[in-house]
Symmetry: C2
Subunit: 407 residues, 2 copies
């Protein structure tokens, strides 16, 4: 007998028909003799509708009231799935954040889970009852409903699995696993049987939208085995596990890309101490995150060019902040460029293999793709390229690292 | 300074635009220097959608899960109205049933309110904060969400008003008050400035759908002044008050009708002791309420005919129950008739005026309308007539009792 947490996202519970399908999935897990807790998202579209209503109602944002409205979506799904399970003869009950309780801090709209009291749920799991838990929500220090921010149901699921000391946390979604690359672009992409937490974390933060970064980090901290699998296809997915559970390590496990980047080049900045602080300080003050940075000497020898990336959604704000500080920074020209994409090759095998970066640069150069910025970590190499080369770059690298599916 | 509870029904909060209008209404009450608590229903249509989902999900009914799903509707409105009020510069916060808490018994789907802890709300009202309370819901003895049944938001409002010792409970709805008769049928109907609790109770239970019977009974018990008024027109409505607050009493205050009735005649029942029990016992066992009853001797002198009414929705079930018990009861023919309507004249003045019933029977006879069954109470006379005479009967009685608007 195992204890399993299952999480079903919005598309998996989009309507009553799909909720009934989910109930069958849960039933078959119960049928294996396992204890099952289920975490559910809101029905697809419901959260957007609720968010739209709050925006249409008020220009101001009282995040506490926003949370009251938005958390209702998961409440509905939790009740409906409990009914669907009961209809199949499975003992089940719904749990809202405040009922368990899932205690969070008081940062409404993006709260962090502090504790989950699983005493009563454990007792009922042992009696064979399925716990259906509303994802994405908790209760704050002052007894008000909090939400964990977008994608928070993944985090709810992993946190609950950790608190329950579950054997596995299954994340059911609309893809059937983690691929070596986005299969919509790279036709020869393969589904990975296993991937390490570190790789998954890089994949998620480098643009692969299968799992929320936060939930992966939490799984890694608790060494919770997470499986990503499809709620529509009955097949094993990708298991996210500790590195020592993977026998045969690939040098490169996957290739990710992100279109959410934009590049800013600040030309002819005085090449003096403190100039980087003059640029990045004001951006940080405006909560604009800077990702890749490269500094190069200008042709004149007395100044430098600084190139860096920000989220595309922040580009206009970033430019305005820098133009405001033009005098203090002392630059001549500011060049924003939203037409860039970040491509990353990821693999824990890099730790013990040299030459991964070189191979990447060579493969791209062979296709005439210019690299604008480079950044690396222990298990990742990322490059910024013109967005028109996205597909070519991904397919080229996929082949270059021997990731293509046979046939 | 007064303390006012305002309640807004589903059509008053049907969309974001209307919720903003409600916020303006609340603001003007606050502007008068009053303390204001607001009770809201779900947005029109929301509850039906939620109920449909529960029905589509499960043939079984776990009322606890039904309550989890359905209570989310009022949660959304409470959050949105709080945001709309804040947008107008009014300090406001939402309260869900479990947060106050509004404690109920454990009868899910039609729970009864037991206690409301208003300590914290009172403190905040005194500080000028508006309390926006989700209607229709509470929390049961085991910490689960309960709902009060259809129309329960009226009950929430009156119960909250009583607990807060409010000066008045304003029920905003899509009609602008209580009329002497349904103005859609009786063009000369007049809006009543005041009506007694007893009359309102009879009006509600005799078919006038302005207020829920339960909320009127609760208002009467607590002597809470209730005003029924329109959320769309800025005009005083009808005040439901104690009898001694009405100086000039009408003999008849209003005429109500109900199409939700059906008649059953059981012919040639053996005229012996215990036969009524043989008929009405099985109906009660099947939770079928019987309203009006008349027994008359048959032509042969040895048997009796029994005629009574049940809710139209129960007619088929009632007939089946009686046919099953045909042998035990011993009747010859069972005649069901759904084409009937119950018309009632209501007024506390009847207590001191004789002849009200006689006037009714005469007026109907003058128009050739046959009375099938009669029932009376201290302040009401009801008759059952063929439904095709509904309009004629209502207009005739309205004129006969001098209720017609001048002009």
């Amino acid at each position: 007998m195992a204890r399993i947490v299952q999480k079903f996202g919005g598309t998996s519970v989009a309507d009553v028909g799909r909720i009934k399908s989910v109930a069958l999935r849960v039933k078959s897990e119960v049928g294996l003799g396992n204890q099952v807790a289920v975490v559910v998202s809101a029905m697809a579209g419901a959260t957007n509708q609720l968010v739209d209503w709050t925006r249409d109602t008020s220009r101001l944002h009282d995040a506490r009231e926003y949370d009251v409205v938005v958390a209702s979506g998961e409440q509905v799904t939790a009740g409906l799935l409990s009914l669907a399970l009961q209809d199949l003869g499975i003992d089940a009950r719904s749990w809202l954040g405040w009922q368990i309780p899932i205690r969070t801090d008081g940062v409404h709209g993006k709260a962090r889970i502090e504790t989950i009291d699983v005493t009563e749920i454990c007792r009922r799991l042992a009696e064979g009852q399925v716990a259906v838990v509303a994802g994405f929500q908790g209760v704050g220090p002052r007894g008000r409903i909090t939400t964990l921010g977008r994608g928070g149901s993944d985090t709810s699921a992993v946190a609950l699995a950790a608190a329950l000391e579950a054997d596995r946390c299954d994340i059911f979604t609309d893809v059937d696993g983690v691929y070596t690359a986005d299969p919509r672009i790279v036709a020869k992409a393969r589904k990975l049987g296993r991937i390490t937490y570190e790789e998954m974390l890089e994949m998620a933060s480098q643009g692969a939208k299968v799992l929320q970064t936060r939930s992966v980090a939490m799984a890694m901290n608790h060494r919770m085995r997470v499986q990503v699998l499809s709620s529509f296809i009955d097949a094993p997915g990708t298991l996210v596990v500790d590195e020592d559970e993977i026998v045969e390590k690939q040098v490169v496990s996957g290739i990710a890309y992100s279109r959410d980047e934009a590049k800013i080049t600040v030309q002819k900045v005085a090449d003096r101490p403190g100039v980087a602080a003059a640029i990045f300080g004001p951006l940080a003050d405006h909560a604009i995150n800077v990702d890749m940075i490269v500094q190069s000497a200008s042709e004149d020898g007395h100044t430098a060019d600084l190139t860096f990336t920000v989220a595309r959604a922040d580009l206009d704000r970033a430019v305005a902040v820098l133009e405001n500080g033009k005098k203090a920074i002392g630059f001549t020209v500011l060049k924003p460029d939203p037409n860039v994409v970040k491509v990353s090759v990821i693999g824990v095998g890099m730790r013990s293999h040299a030459g991964v970066a070189k191979q990447m640069f060579q493969a791209l150069a062979d296709k005439g793709i210019n690299i604008q910025v480079i950044s690396t970590s222990e298990i990742k190499v990322s490059v910024l390229i013109a967005s028109e080369y996205t597909e070519l770059a991904l397919r080229t690298l996929h082949t270059a690292y021997g990731l293509d599916a046979p046939g």
